[in-house]
């Protein structure tokens, strides 16, 4: 079938400025949008620039806006699209470096700000630290995050103000706050108890819809809010 690909273009090294290019391609219904981009890059215009690696939705390289919503290019099939014209734009709220490539630095800076690592200063036992399957499942959802930035860049609060740590950072804080083996929950809650922390979240839910790993992002944020409010990790 024939698909029209309308792709956002911007190259700082030419003087065309930002614009859209349209490519008409022959595609299978089971092709990924990423396959379409590859087809353009390989056969039509090698200057088209985007990130990708795994091609099956687990590395988090290729978050872009497809027909107005954040998605991984490798996880949307042509048959899932409602229209035969596909509009492709970079994710919002980060500086565009070239075509679909954005500067991820602010995103990772926020990630790093919430102590996204395991803290337990007790001397470890000879073997593993024990954890029941129930305790393990408490934070399973948020361990799935691949740091693709789909959520944070779909959040109007983040568009408005890039100092907001963003849902992704909160998800990664949640991963440790609710880990029964971890000891730094209080510090993380303190960090997020800030005007640029959880209070910037106005329950808009774009993040939950955008997450390719089907993480209940807003729920994670809500649980962190509640933990701050009550001092309890339920």
């Amino acid at each position: 079938m024939e698909v029209k690909l309308k792709v956002f273009r911007y190259n700082p090294e030419d003087d065309e400025g930002k614009h859209f290019d349209t490519f008409t391609l022959e595609a299978e219904p089971t092709d990924r949008v990423l396959d379409l981009l590859e087809q353009v890059k390989n056969y039509v215009d090698g200057t088209l620039t985007f990130r990708r690696s795994c091609a099956h939705g687990v590395c988090g390289s290729d978050a872009i806006r497809i027909n107005g919503v954040n998605r991984l290019a490798c996880k949307v099939l042509v048959q899932d699209l409602k229209s035969k014209t596909v509009k492709i734009e970079p994710i919002l709220g980060l500086e565009v470096e070239k075509d679909l490539v954005v500067d991820m630095e602010p995103f990772f800076r926020h990630y790093k700000s919430v102590l996204p690592y395991f803290v337990n200063d007790d001397p470890p036992p000879m073997k593993e630290r024990l954890q029941s399957p129930e305790e393990r499942s408490r934070f399973d959802d948020t361990t799935k995050c691949i740091l693709c930035a789909s959520c944070t860049t779909s959040c109007p609060s983040f568009w408005i103000n890039e100092e907001y740590v963003g849902p992704s950072a909160i998800v990664n804080a949640h991963r440790f706050i609710y880990d029964s083996r971890d000891q730094a929950a209080a510090e993380r809650l303190e960090i997020l108890n800030d005007q640029f922390g959880v209070y910037r979240c106005h329950t808009i839910f774009n993040c939950t819809d955008a997450c390719p790993r089907e993480i209940e992002v807003t729920k994670a944020v809500g649980e962190v809010k509640k933990a701050i409010a009550t001092g309890r990790l339920e």
Partner: protein
């Protein structure tokens, strides 16, 4: 050179968020709207006189009232939804349903009120 990160209002609105995004936008607008409404009203009462009457005519006009009533109903119901989700995060799993439910409450209540208001207006009250 990179393109600025700024997301313009239009670019933001073009993002295909779902019902909750719309709810947030409306919540903001109605919240601010109500402040404007109170401010107008208080100023009018304080000033009195011609200006006061002028302002009062504006906010007593049907259109403005229709807007204010919608704002109050929407902001109240949506606010309650947010409060429930915030205080009991486990309900977030039912957020889709909660958004439906919200409109399920708002639309009839507002419809009824608007109907009464308009019919009274037409009756010349």
């Amino acid at each position: 050179m990179t393109l600025d990160r700024k997301v313009g209002l239009l670019a933001g609105l073009r993002y295909k968020g779902g019902g909750p995004m719309l709810a947030w936008i409306l919540h903001r607008i109605t919240g601010l709207g109500m402040i404007v409404f109170i401010a107008l009203h208080v100023i009018a009462s304080l000033l009195g006189g011609d200006i006061g009457i002028a302002i009062n005519t504006v906010y007593q006009s049907l259109y403005f009232q229709l807007f204010v009533v919608f704002g109050i109903i929407f902001h109240g119901v949506n606010g309650l939804r947010i409060i429930v989700l915030d205080l009991w995060p486990k309900f977030i799993e039912y957020q889709r349903e909660s958004t439906w439910l919200e409109w399920f409450i708002i639309l009839p209540v507002y419809g009824l009120t608007a109907f009464v208001m308009i019919s009274r207006f037409l009756a010349g009250e």
